[in-house]
């Protein structure tokens, strides 16, 4: 039996209190709270995977959240095998510690990759889709050090890292959370746009990336790579 290559995707979601702020209604339609939009991400990914018999086996998904601390919300799994009623919802709490999120990733990734290998898979370098709506509450040098640690070349499972910023998040800052710098990029919402709409667009990007990446995999494990979708909706993101 040849080993199957799987692609691990992480969504890391900011659940600081600001994620629960209700944006003003647009044309009389009540806007979604950012955290509700974030909860829809999992559903969208799950449905996309369910829609194709070719994808489920090749993709693994996990969701982490962070505030003052960070936790695993959905442990690395084959989402097509999980019942929707079992999927936990994100709950808001406290501040915005990037350090907590980055350190948890650094601990969790080797555990998840090790488990997938133990299950007989070849494992592709993970991809992290990092969602935040503001600036970190940690001192600059601290989150920078955590990010350097997570993406250091001595860390074998260092992930591709794609930050998404909505609401108050700043491009200059999130550009520093891109890895690798040459091949990935940040997505930061243009000012004045609805954060929930931007999160919905992020979900589409994630789904597009999952499908394109999984479709690039050869079952013999010879080929396959992580593909970041191109920016079709240039009016949403900076």
């Amino acid at each position: 039996m040849t080993e199957m290559l799987v692609l691990p995707f992480y969504v890391v979601a900011d659940v600081s209190y600001s994620m629960t702020m209700k944006p003003p209604a647009v044309d009389g339609v009540a806007a979604l709270r950012p955290i509700d939009a974030a909860n829809e991400i999992v559903k969208k990914v799950k449905i996309a995977l369910e829609n194709s018999p070719l994808l489920g086996d090749k993709v693994r998904f996990a969701m982490l959240d962070f505030s003052d601390d960070a936790q695993v919300v959905i442990p690395m799994c084959d989402l097509t095998k999980v019942d929707p009623s079992q999927i936990p919802q994100l709950q808001a709490r406290g501040g915005t510690s990037y350090v907590a999120a980055l350190q948890l990733l650094k601990r969790q990734i080797p555990i998840d990759v090790g488990q997938l290998k133990a299950d007989g898979h070849k494992v592709h370098r993970p991809a992290v889709f990092f969602l935040t709506d503001g600036e970190p509450t940690d001192p600059d040098h601290e989150w920078k050090a955590s990010f350097a640690d997570l993406t250091d070349s001595s860390f074998k499972e260092r992930p591709n890292f794609i930050p998404f910023g909505v609401a108050e998040a700043k491009k200059e800052l999130l550009d520093q959370l891109v890895y690798p710098q040459q091949r990935m990029r940040s997505f930061v919402q243009r000012t004045g746009e609805d954060p929930s709409a931007a999160i919905t667009s992020m979900a589409e990007k994630l789904v597009g990336s999952i499908i394109a990446s999984a479709n690039s995999i050869q079952s013999d494990g010879m080929g396959g790579t992580f593909i970041l979708p191109d920016d079709d909706d240039g009016d949403v993101w900076l």
Partner: protein, 300 residues
């Protein structure tokens, strides 16, 4: 022949879907004189793959135009063949016009949240297990139905090769199937086909879908021979036709979409067809049976 239209003349359009290379939109008002009442879509190429050769696409469009009506009808049923080249103010072709796919080539499926989706009935669903289909309310075709779908695919590839066109990137995403009103398949993504002697206008983007590479392409890849890897011809089409037949007939085998071993379906095929399948998948390229042979042997 002036089978080129301007994007500005197409009138209003509504997006239907997007792929890696193009955005497809329904034209609500535009019609062609030779296809009265036939709804059309505009497949517009993304900037990242432009310029696309107007000349190359015109070859395909003109070829279709040159057929007598009866033949054209047959080919139009089996292929979502481009009917016009479209240009805008940008370089090369901006896209092509295609007939809107018939609703019979869509399949309804229910997700685990109870949501209902109408998806193009891509061949990939034929490789799904019975459980997978049952969970989503997708019909799981019988062996007889699968056999009829293979026959329709064989017939399509036969017609194409007779018209001296290489399909190229045959895969489970590039043909659609239906069980009613008539068991048949239709091939999509036809703008990357190439008339023999021409190069494909889009073929360089993805010569072979992963898990569909013929052995000679894999061998070329191992030698780092990019040109050899990318070669698409009648022989590669014949190999992929064999793979498609194998995977359609595998029936309820986990990961059927990745299988290449003909023995998997030995029990589903009469000996003369099993031999054809074996030859398609294991013989040297020039000795693979052509679609015409399949067609005749399947009718026996």
């Amino acid at each position: 022949m002036a089978l080129i239209v301007r994007e500005a003349d197409l009138g209003p359009r509504k997006e239907l879907g997007r792929g890696g290379f193009a955005v497809v939109s329904l034209l609500s008002q535009y019609q062609l004189p030779e296809l009265p009442g036939r709804a059309l879509v505009y497949k517009k190429y993304k900037d990242k793959i432009r310029p696309v050769s107007v000349f190359g696409l015109s070859q395909l469009v003109d070829l279709r135009h040159g057929w007598e009506p009866a033949r054209r009808q047959q080919l139009d049923a089996a292929f979502n063949w481009p009917v016009r080249v479209v240009t805008d103010d940008g370089p090369g072709a901006s896209g092509v016009l295609l007939p809107l796919l018939d609703p019979s080539y869509f399949v309804r499926m229910t997700d685990s949240y109870g949501g209902v989706h109408e998806n193009p009935a891509e061949g990939q669903y034929l490789t799904a297990t019975r459980d997978w289909c049952t969970q989503r309310g997708v019909p799981f075709p019988t062996l007889e139905q699968r056999y009829a779908l293979c026959y329709s695919l064989v017939r399509a590839v036969g017609m194409l090769h007779k018209a001296e066109v290489v399909y190229g990137d045959l895969s489970h995403k590039n043909y659609l199937y239906r069980l009613t009103p008539k068991l048949s398949v239709t091939l999509v993504d036809c703008d990357s086909m190439r008339p023999r002697g021409q190069t494909s206008v889009l073929g360089g983007l993805q010569p072979h879908t992963p898990d569909w590479e013929p052995p000679e392409a894999l061998a070329a890849k191992r030698r780092n021979d990019g040109i050899g890897f990318a070669a698409q011809n009648y022989h590669t089409d014949r190999y992929k036709l064999g793979l498609a037949i194998l995977r359609i007939l595998a029936m309820d085998v986990p990961r059927a979409a990745e299988k290449r071993d003909p023995d998997l379906v030995r029990r589903h095929l009469p000996p003369h067809l099993f031999r054809l399948l074996q030859a398609s998948l294991t013989a040297p390229p020039a000795q693979r049976p052509d679609a015409r042979t399949w067609f005749e042997e399947m009718r026996r």
